[in-house]
Each structure stands twice: as C-alpha cells, then as structure tokens.
C-alpha cells in the first residue's frame, strides 16, 4: 500500500492512530483489518471483557482510556450496536480521542442531539453516525469505504451517502481523476459533521483543488452549504443530489432522507446550489463528467 506522498489530509492522515471500538465483532474485525492493510495505523481495539486478547496482532483493551494511555490512540472508529453507540462516543471523547468516526446506524436521534452538543463544545471532530467513514487515498482509510476504487488526486468528495459516494468515486477513477479525501458524513438527521464543516476543511486543504458535494433529500444542509460556498469558498464546487423522484413523507432508507411538507426536496436543493453557481449533475456519471470538464478547462 502507498506510503509515500504528502502526510497531510483532512479528518484522517498519517498521524492517525486508530482505535476500533468493536474490533472483535465481525464488521469491526473485517473493516479494521482492511483499514490496517490499507496502511492506516490501527493501534488498538476495544471490547469490554476482551482486554488482553488481540486481533491479528492488534491489542484489544477493555476501555478506550487504556487504548489511549497505552497505544496513544487519537482517532476512534465505532462499530458497536446502535443502543451502545453514544456510550461508545462519550467513552472515546472522554478518554481524549479527538476524532470519532461512527459507522453504526439507527442511533436514536435524541441521544445524538446531546452527543452533538457535548462534542462540539469540546472541539472534537466527529463523522457519522450511519456513515461510511473517511478515506484519504494513499494516506489512511478509516471506515468501510472500499479504497481500491479510489485513487490519489486533488478532488475533495463529501457525501451523505456511502454507496453513492463509491459510485461517484468509481466514475471519477474511470475518468482518470483521483481524490484528496472522501468523507461520508452520514444519512441521519443529526450527524457530527455537516457539509459546511467538511467543505471548510477542503477549502483550507492545500491538496484539494475541487470539491464535489453529494447531497440527498431531507433537511437543509445542502442549502446551507450553498450559502457557505458562496461566501467562503474560492475553490470550484460541483454537486449531485439524489432523490428527485422521491415522494413526500416517505423515509428513503436514511432516517434523514425525508421530504417534509414543501421542504427538503431535491429540486429545491438543486435550485439553491445552482443559484450560487454550483453546477449539479443529473446522474453520478454526469457529475463525474462535469468534474473532468472542469479539470480540462483548468489545466
């Protein structure tokens, strides 16, 4: 796996020292080991009651505090079941972990309200829950993103959806384009990082030249991001929105993907983005083509 190139990236990078909460579970083990194979520095696992064991050489602890104290973990990847997920987040943050990536879906929304408020005040970075994680090609992969379909490059990709992210990354790769970092922020009503949080980092990231924003129906994060881009972002931004054909009042898989009354429609989001000059592709293929065109125009 690549170990050369710049060290910097957003959210995760070569300084990431990862602890996997739920490493001994089947998902935790599968993806934790994949992340390590990619080159991510997976320093520990945590499963209460399994302290002292190891998973293919990765030491397992009973608590995150031990993983931090003994292995210097600074980032946590969470695979524990939904009803224990916020406890796991609090545990990680209180142990001193500064970046938390929570893959778990179906975390109760009220619990996330409190967690969100708690961690924001502490300055902790959180991605998810119900997200695929973050990948900085050539540097580190934390989560479930299949890294082999992405290549190194300068496109920052941020998305509410996992598989749709892979689809667009795949289309970019087909066109010979690579990514600086891919962040799946998650499809729940309350997630730790918004489009704006990630776009702000891409804007500041010297390795990112262009930003692709992949939204979907529900909420108003895309509209807010459009306003933010208009005011604060100098790099080119392109977008894709899923759910043009979704009926109102139905949850489209993600708890956050629901058109309520007249708000949250894909059309409204597209309008808001286009109003500030962000082109919106009609299909994942088209958005990838728009990116390629833009790169052609710039280089």
């Amino acid at each position: 796996m690549p170990r050369e190139g710049p060290l910097m990236a957003i959210v995760i990078d070569r300084d990431t020292r990862l602890v996997v909460q739920g490493l001994t579970g089947s998902e935790g083990r599968f993806h934790g080991l994949r992340n390590r194979n990619y080159g991510t520095n997976v320093v520990a696992g945590v499963t209460p009651g399994k302290g002292g064991q190891d998973v293919e050489g990765i030491p397992v602890f009973n608590t995150v505090a031990e993983a931090v104290d003994e292995q210097g973990a600074n980032t946590s990847l969470i695979f524990v079941p939904a009803r224990f997920a916020t406890d796991a987040i609090y545990e990680a943050v209180d142990a001193g972990v500064t970046t938390v990536i929570c893959i778990t879906e179906h975390v109760p929304a009220h619990e996330m309200l409190r967690v969100y408020t708690y961690i924001r005040a502490k300055g902790v970075t959180m991605i998810g829950p119900n997200c695929p994680g973050a990948l900085s090609p050539g540097k580190a992969n934390v989560g479930i993103i299949p890294a082999e379909i992405f290549s190194e490059g300068t496109i920052g990709l941020v998305s509410r959806s996992g598989t749709l992210t892979y689809q667009i990354g795949h289309e970019l790769t087909q066109l010979g384009l690579g990514n600086s970092t891919i962040v799946g922020i998650g499809g729940d009503p309350v997630v730790g990082s918004s489009f704006i949080d990630i776009v702000e980092r891409f804007e500041a990231d010297p390795e990112t030249e262009l930003i692709v924003l992949v939204g979907e129906i529900g909420g108003d994060e895309e509209e807010k991001a459009a306003r933010y881009v208009a005011e604060h972002v100098t790099k080119p931004v392109l977008a894709y929105i899923a759910g043009f054909s979704a009926p109102p009042g139905k949850t489209m898989g993600h708890a956050g993907a629901i058109i309520s009354g007249s708000s949250g429609t894909a059309a409204a989001k597209k309008d808001a983005l286009e109003a500030v000059g962000i082109e919106v592709g009609t299909t994942p293929t088209e958005v990838a083509q728009l990116v390629a065109d833009r790169f052609g125009a710039r280089t």
Partner: protein, 382 residues
C-alpha cells in the same frame, strides 16, 4: 413512526397534559356505546395519519348516542387523502373560546429541540409562520441544558398570552410537553389547537406526534401502537422482512444497496426514460437471505416488469449478493428479466459467480447507466 390523534393524546395524558375524555371506536355501534359512556354531546373524529380531515368531513359534532352512531357511519370508510378511515376517536365535546398552537419539534438544522407557540391556532403553522410571523414565538432548547422554566416564560410572553390563569396553565403544559418529547424520543409533539374553554381551562384538543423509529426499542408501549392494517400491505411485508421499501408507481423494480445509491438508481431509471416501481434498499448486510427477502417484496408488486439490481459494495460484498441472486432465482422461479450491475468489494468474484451460473433471464451490465437503460428497455418490451 406517526401516531394517531388518540395515541398522541394517550401519551399526553401520561405526562399530565390535559385532554378530553374519549373512547376509540371502529364501528358505528361502538361509537354509539362510546357516546353513551361519555354522556352529553361528543365529537366523532376520523383517525387518519394525514391532515385535512376536518375539510374532508372526517370530524363531526354529535348531540348524543343516536347522532354519534349516525355520524360515525358516515365517517367510517371515508377516503381522506388516500387514507381510508377505519378508526374513530369519540370524545366529550369541548366549548372553545380560543384556539392556540403549541409544539416542540426536532430541529435538525439547529440540532436542538424547537418550541413554537402562537395564539393563532387551529390553522396550519406554516401559514402563521408565513403570514403573521411576529405572532409566532419560537425558542430553541439546548439539549444539555434541558428545559428550564424561563423558556416557557419567553414563549408565553413572546406569543402575547397575557391572561394570568392561561399563563399558569400553559407554563405547566410547556414543561410537560418537553418531557413528553424527550422521554418518548419524539421528533414532533404538536398540539393544534391548544384550546381555552369559556371557563378558562386550557387543554389539548388535537395531537400530532412522531416518534423516532431508532428509539422504539426502548418504548415497547409506543412500538405496539403501530397500525399494521392501515399501512400499505407491501410495505408492511417489507418491514417484516427487514427490507427498506417504498412503493412507487412504475414498472422497473429497483434494488440498490445503501439509501443514497438506491435513491440515485430511482432517479437514473427516470433519466433513462423508465418508471420506477419502487425504492428498495438492501441495506448494509446484503447476504443471500437479504436478497431473497428483497426480491420477494419487489416481485409481489404486479406492476413490475423488470428488476434492476444496482450494487456497489462497501460493507456489502458483491459475491454474497451474487450468491443471493442465484439462490433467490432458484427458490422463487423468477422469469422476468433481471439486470445486474456489481461494483466495489469483491465485485470480480460476484460477476464471476453470475457468469458461471448464467441464468437465461439475468443480464449483467458494466455501468449504472447502461444497466438502467437495459432495465427500462426490458420493462417496456415485456
């Protein structure tokens, strides 16, 4: 999960929010019995998970048991915005001097609960917000600080409620509604109208509550309020199978993995000139049984002419999906055309498994767009 008015009022009652006494009825005879038990004039109210029931004739005043029976007969079976009335809430009629509005919602934008209170109740809150925004008092609650009495005071003064007795009652109701909202894991608790009777008594005349599906595991009492009969039978079947499914109105059955990709697949089928029959998300697992279950749901829809499998593997492994497709074909003898597109984790293995088995109605396409076009063509040809 949305609650019926009567279920929301049951919840309100548990937290001490005043509501009128009432009974549930599913037949006109039960409505008569309810009116008899309650005594005096009653209101017969259609229980449907949609608005506009008043205008649709779903709410009637009855002066006694005979009248209640007759009115119930007229309301049962009504179709209100696509919802057939099968349940009635018969409650003691209230005299109404004033109609206010009070709600607490889960404001995902602010990531805080949001209270709204206005004296302009009885109409849609969006209308008040648009036409008379200064009449609407709004206040966010910090989730860690929690409810504090001053918040209720800001709301009542902000909404211009100046009668001291009303103030006192509404201050108490606001605090109770917050408890109801948080302790029930609700996404919405709305009282519209919150009425004041001519005697000055404040109570909830209607209720609209939505509870977070992800938190139902700790609310067995609320979970069992789900009205299985009223739901779309296909969606109910899907829920039982653990498949995320939304019925649409076309011919191309769609099965994706992940909500975003599945939504995008629906859109791409439209772009390709087709009409999607459904949204269906295989979810993160995607083992053979998951595929069988999803196919069972999709093929129960008689309109479906072709099926489009759009899989991009992350947690889902394409080889497992491929095996699931073959297993399902084996078990279910599906003859309609199935278009498959696999990419991501173990995609090569998956494609090889399908190529080796090569069932006649299975078409493997290299890209999402190609596959969408093929599925649309095949649906139109069928």
């Amino acid at each position: 999960m949305d609650l019926y008015e009567y279920q929301g009022k049951e919840l309100f009652g548990r937290f001490g929010i005043p509501v009128s006494d009432g009974r549930l009825a599913t037949t006109a005879a039960e409505a008569r019995a309810a009116a008899e038990a309650l005594g005096g004039p009653v209101v017969v109210k259609a229980q449907v998970l949609t608005g506009g029931r008043g205008k649709a004739g779903g709410v009637k005043l009855a002066d006694g048991p005979d009248d209640a029976e007759e009115k119930a007969g007229g309301i049962l079976g009504l179709d209100i915005r696509g919802h057939v009335v099968r349940k009635l809430w018969v409650e003691r009629a209230s005299d109404i001097a004033k109609e206010y509005y009070l709600s607490v919602t889960f404001d995902r934008g602010a990531k805080q609960p949001l209270f709204m209170l206005t004296r302009e109740g009885g109409v849609e809150i969006e209308q008040v917000a648009e036409e008379n925004p200064e009449a609407l008092a709004r206040l966010h609650v910090d989730p860690l600080e929690g409810f504090q009495p001053y918040q209720a005071r800001r709301l009542i003064y902000g909404a211009g409620i100046d009668d001291p007795s009303e103030q006192k009652q509404i201050l108490a109701i606001i605090g109770k509604l917050y408890r109801c909202f948080v302790e029930s894991d609700a996404m919405l608790c709305e009282i519209n109208p919150l009425i004041v009777t001519p005697d000055g008594e404040v109570k909830a005349l209607d209720s609209k509550c939505t509870v977070d599906d992800s938190a139902l595991f700790r609310h067995a009492d609320i979970a069992k309020m789900r009205d299985v009969e009223a739901a779309d039978p296909l969606e109910t079947f899907a829920r039982e199978k653990g498949v995320t499914y939304v019925k649409l109105d076309g011919e191309v059955g769609i099965l994706g993995n992940g909500a975003g990709l599945s939504m995008s697949t629906v859109d791409v089928v439209v772009v390709a000139g087709g009409r999607p029959a459904n949204f269906c998300d295989l979810g993160g697992g995607g083992d053979a049984q998951g595929v069988v279950d999803a196919l069972e749901v999709i093929t129960r829809d008689d309109q479906v002419r072709s099926i489009f499998f759009n899989i991009f593997g992350g947690i889902t492994r394409c080889d497992e999906v491929a095996r699931g497709i073959l297993t399902a074909l084996d078990q279910m003898q599906i003859t309609m055309p199935i278009v498959v597109r696999l990419d991501g984790t173990n995609a090569d293995e998956g494609r090889k498994i399908l190529a080796d088995a090569a069932p006649a109605n299975l078409h493997v396409e290299p890209t999402m767009l190609d596959a969408a076009q093929r599925a649309v063509e095949l649906a139109q040809a069928a």
